[in-house]
């Protein structure tokens, strides 16, 4: 989609470290005065769109990224502090308001002036139905692991360096010296010649009147003082004493509470409901009918949910009422088989002559893989608080896309955009789920109907059954080996493609490759789920590669290294993980070790997993992970993201399954959609390699590689190939 391709992204990235041609916040002209009223308080000077300085010499970064625990606020702040030479004690973060000036498109415009589209990495984080092309320009998305590698690298660093230049110039003018003789250090300007020293604040007002340079000089890595160090996260203190305000904690005068039940079958509408049983409950204010749901508004959430349980809404019949997981899987398989036999799939990659390579192969390895739908199951169930009046609508919510939510609410209630105000909160998990505005729209509609401010909270059951799901995918593989065991051909056909486009591609130098997909639309809503398509294809390709290695009589690590010839970053990551995990060390019967390699969102990750089978159960003992993110802005922050990504992927690989019966989701809560818990969590070791290549992402790259390394370890331990997840379905009772 669009002209801002991944290739353009990487090419532009090469400029980092020198002078950037075009800065994001700093397009030609001085736009800060247009937004100063939105983001500054008395005494604060907005130097450029993203940087303000207070009279107390406090420097605040204003950036359009929300915090869901990924540490973006802190890492972005580090980037500004370093480029601007601000003392860590003087820096603060303020999330940009949900206004157009801080939309992601500003980012795109920074790259390709006047003709930018949304970057491919962000596409999956928006609702595929409601937020396509035209509205895509109105996004303010935190997703696609882009905060650091896009906003940070092309926005915050440039903004910091430009602000530093302006402050030095203002000081030079005041003191009647050349700015080149001045030094910026610790939020102060110093004149080594005269010994004068003054805080930034003294020059901020003057600096704010000047248009910033679009190509300030950025620091080289050897000059970094704050980037590359681990700073305590800014949001942590509030998260240990209960004071952090999540969306669900919003309190508005006169607020009522709402519980909701949505049509079990996606797409079905409410046909009728007898409101009386709920209205008879003391404390209930109103029953509200929505197109596909019924909500009860009451003086407490408990009352609302109790009253809701007394209702028996009727839903319209749909063509999907008989759909189940098995019938969907057959459709996926039929689609793939049809493409293989018929006109062929849509090609992702065609390299070499696969037909000839297979025709000449001495042996062919074939396998089909399958993964189920998955829910996000954020710890904080979906919720939003809304106050609708005749003039306007305020929404309190934690969202990965504040500006998009404003547009969605305005569109759903037929309001001018200016009439909708969004109050951003911390998110109790996001993982892609909180890019979708469904619950904010519902809260606004219920508030309008009830005539009071309403906090709408989904029960966990609603949250599990009305997610936007990681799709269920089937993937079919063939690989050809020649007489000496070399891999000569790789063919992969799967269904359902989203983003990133390169997710099913492999880094290995196999001379003939053909990778393609079919499209099998289902009625189950799609949503981006941590690492998006990499979450399936990382498992598929790296598990099948292991099968190919075994068939070729090669060690899985050795064969990867051989086929990565010339890809030095990949090789170093793989070698590091293998060395740290003692790949070659023998393991006793019932113990196994598996390896995987996956590049995603600009970072390269290798994982080695140790497992053993005991009393018929699988124990995941250790995960060793190596990552080359280009550069780790916060090593501990990156490590935390790897640990988190591994547990997220491991939870899915071991337990995760959303199944469909009669068109609806079967699972409902943590008893039947289980999470990995502390007693089963492995030890995780992370090793970071700074290669100083283009900076990559952190939030997602830890997730894709854990499932394949795990199933490869299970094979190593048991000889059992796990081609369908979750592993909970696998019987190990013959083992251990």
């Amino acid at each position: 989609m669009g002209k801002w391709t991944r290739r353009a992204f990487i090419t532009t990235g090469v400029l980092a470290g020198g002078a950037l041609a075009v800065g994001v916040a700093l397009r030609p002209g001085h736009r800060a005065p247009e937004v100063a009223g939105e983001v500054t308080e008395s005494g604060e000077s907005l130097i450029n769109m993203w940087v303000k300085v207070g009279t107390d010499n406090r420097v605040t970064l204003i950036a359009p990224h929300s915090e869901m625990g990924q540490g973006a606020h802190t890492a972005l702040t580090q980037m500004l502090a370093d480029e601007m030479d601000v003392r860590w004690e003087d820096i603060a973060y303020q999330e940009a308001p949900a206004i157009d000036a801080y939309a992601n498109w500003a980012l795109g415009k920074g790259f390709i002036l006047g003709d930018a589209d949304i970057p491919a990495a962000l596409v999956p984080t928006v609702n595929g139905v409601f937020l396509q092309a035209a509205k895509a320009m109105k996004l303010q998305v935190t997703g696609g692991s882009t905060s650091i590698r896009a906003t940070g690298v092309y926005g915050v660093r440039v903004a910091g360096a430009a602000a530093r230049e302006l402050i030095l110039e203002a000081a030079a003018e005041r003191w009647g010296v050349a700015s080149s003789t001045l030094v910026a250090r610790d939020t102060h300007v110093e004149d080594p010649t005269s010994g004068r020293r003054a805080p930034y604040a003294e020059f901020a007002a003057q600096a704010a009147t000047q248009a910033p340079s679009t190509s300030p000089r950025l620091k080289s890595p050897q000059d970094f003082r704050i980037m590359g160090t681990s700073r305590p996260r800014l949001d942590v203190p509030a998260k240990v004493d209960g004071s952090a305000q999540f969306g669900i904690d919003a309190q508005v005068p006169g607020m009522h509470y709402a519980a909701i039940r949505q049509a079990p079958v996606f797409g079905a509408k409410l046909t009728d409901v007898d409101e009386q049983p709920a209205e008879a409950v003391a404390g209930v204010k109103q029953v509200v009918r929505l197109e596909n749901a019924v909500a009860v508004v009451a003086d407490s959430y408990w009352t609302a949910s109790q009253a809701l349980s007394r209702l028996t809404p009727r839903w319209e019949e749909t063509e999907n009422d008989a759909v189940d997981s098995d019938s969907l899987k057959r459709r996926f398989q039929d689609s793939i088989a049809g493409a293989q036999e018929g006109s062929g799939p849509s090609q992702d990659e065609e390299w070499g002559d696969a037909d000839a390579a297979f025709a000449g192969a001495a042996a062919v390895v074939e396998a089909d893989y399958h993964v189920p739908f998955l829910a996000h199951a954020c710890m904080e169930p979906m919720n939003a608080t809304a106050r609708f009046t005749e003039e306007d609508c305020d929404v309190w919510v934690g969202t990965q896309n504040p500006l998009g939510f404003r547009h969605e609410v305005a569109a759903a209630l037929d309001l001018d955009l200016d009439a909708v105000t969004l109050h951003q909160h911390y998110m109790g998990g996001g993982f892609g789920r909180r890019a979708n505005g469904d619950v904010a729209i519902q809260a606004a509609l219920v508030s309008r109907a009830a005539g009071v401010p309403v906090k709408l909270i989904w029960s966990r059951e609603e949250d599990v059954r009305h997610d936007h799901y990681r799709p269920s995918v089937t993937s079919s593989f063939r690989a050809g080996l020649n007489a000496t065991g070399d891999v000569v051909a790789w063919e992969n056909t799967y269904h359902e493609k989203h983003e990133p486009a390169e997710a099913p591609l492999i880094p290995y130098a196999i001379p003939a490759r053909r990778i393609g997909h079919t499209d099998v639309p289902t009625h189950v809503p799609f949503g981006p789920w941590r690492s998006v398509d990499h979450s399936q294809h990382g498992y598929f390709t790296e598990a099948f590669f292991d099968e190919v290695a075994v068939a070729a009589g090669r060690d899985p690590f050795d064969l990867r290294m051989a086929l990565l010839e010339g890809r030095e970053r990949h090789q170093q990551v793989l070698r590091t993980a293998a060395d740290m995990a003692r790949w070659d060390e023998a393991r006793p019967r019932g113990h196994g070790r598996g390896i995987s390699l996956q590049e995603s969102f600009g970072s390269i990750v290798a994982q080695v997993v140790d497992v053993h089978i005991e009393d018929g159960g699988l124990s995941v003992d250790r995960v060793v992970l190596a990552i080359d993110p280009g550069f780790a802005v916060s090593p501990d922050g990156l490590t935390a993201q790897m640990e988190s990504g591994v547990i997220f992927g491991l939870t899915a690989a071991l337990f995760g399954e959303i199944s469909i019966e009669k068109g609806a989701v079967v699972q409902s809560n943590f008893h039947d959609y289980p999470m990995l818990r502390m007693d089963k969590a492995p030890r995780i070791e992370t090793h970071i390699i700074n290669s100083y290549a283009a900076w990559g992402g952190a939030g997602e790259p830890g997730t894709p590689g854990i499932a394949p390394a795990l199933v490869n370890a299970v094979f190593d331990a048991t000889g059992i190939r796990v081609r369908e997840l979750p592993l909970a379905k696998q019987d190990f009772s013959d083992w251990g």
Partner: protein, 167 residues
């Protein structure tokens, strides 16, 4: 009317006695640090102390807590000697435990109850006490480290050098 003490403060709540304590704490008392996660005692986000014992407030009717002493995350620091944070809260900061942070009130309350009964827990004891608390961000390794850090501090604090010699 249900009478109970929350973080040392006497309260009279005019609520349905069947209402789970969670919602009374959040909506009636206005202490929102205690979180709703599942409503069926499966995730631990709602953990508070009732008379010193960790309970899941999402399934505990207010009537069962009547007359009891409740401690929530907002009152945790005050249960430890001295000013400032509870040793676990400080350990949580030192180990940079929270990510999204939503489950952490419950994690801390479970951990505090554990250390109250077992000042120096081993891995199995930590697993047993903490397996009821889900962290979707997967910070189990850091939670374990932080509990051990806090435990080692409290052991140091209560150990008086030479006491055994004189005993």
């Amino acid at each position: 009317m249900v009478r109970l003490a929350i973080n040392g403060q006497e309260r009279e709540l005019d609520v349905d006695p069947a209402m789970p304590l969670l919602w009374a704490i959040r909506e009636q008392v206005g202490l929102t640090g205690t979180k709703f996660g599942c409503g069926i005692a499966q995730c631990g986000a709602c953990t508070v102390h009732l008379n010193g014992i960790a309970i899941r407030s999402c399934v505990t009717p207010v009537s069962l807590a009547a007359g009891g002493e409740i401690t929530t995350i907002e009152g945790l620091a005050a249960t430890a000697p001295g000013p400032g944070l509870h040793p676990l809260q400080q350990a949580w900061i030192d180990e940079q435990v929270p990510q999204c942070g939503y489950c952490q009130s419950g994690q801390l309350m479970s951990a505090a109850a554990l250390l109250e009964n077992n000042p120096d827990p081993d891995d199995d004891a930590i697993d047993a006490a903490m397996a009821g608390n889900v962290c979707r961000c997967g910070m189990y390794g850091r939670i374990r480290s932080a509990i051990k850090q806090a435990a080692s501090q409290s052991v140091v604090e209560t150990y008086v050098p030479g006491e055994a010699d004189h005993g």
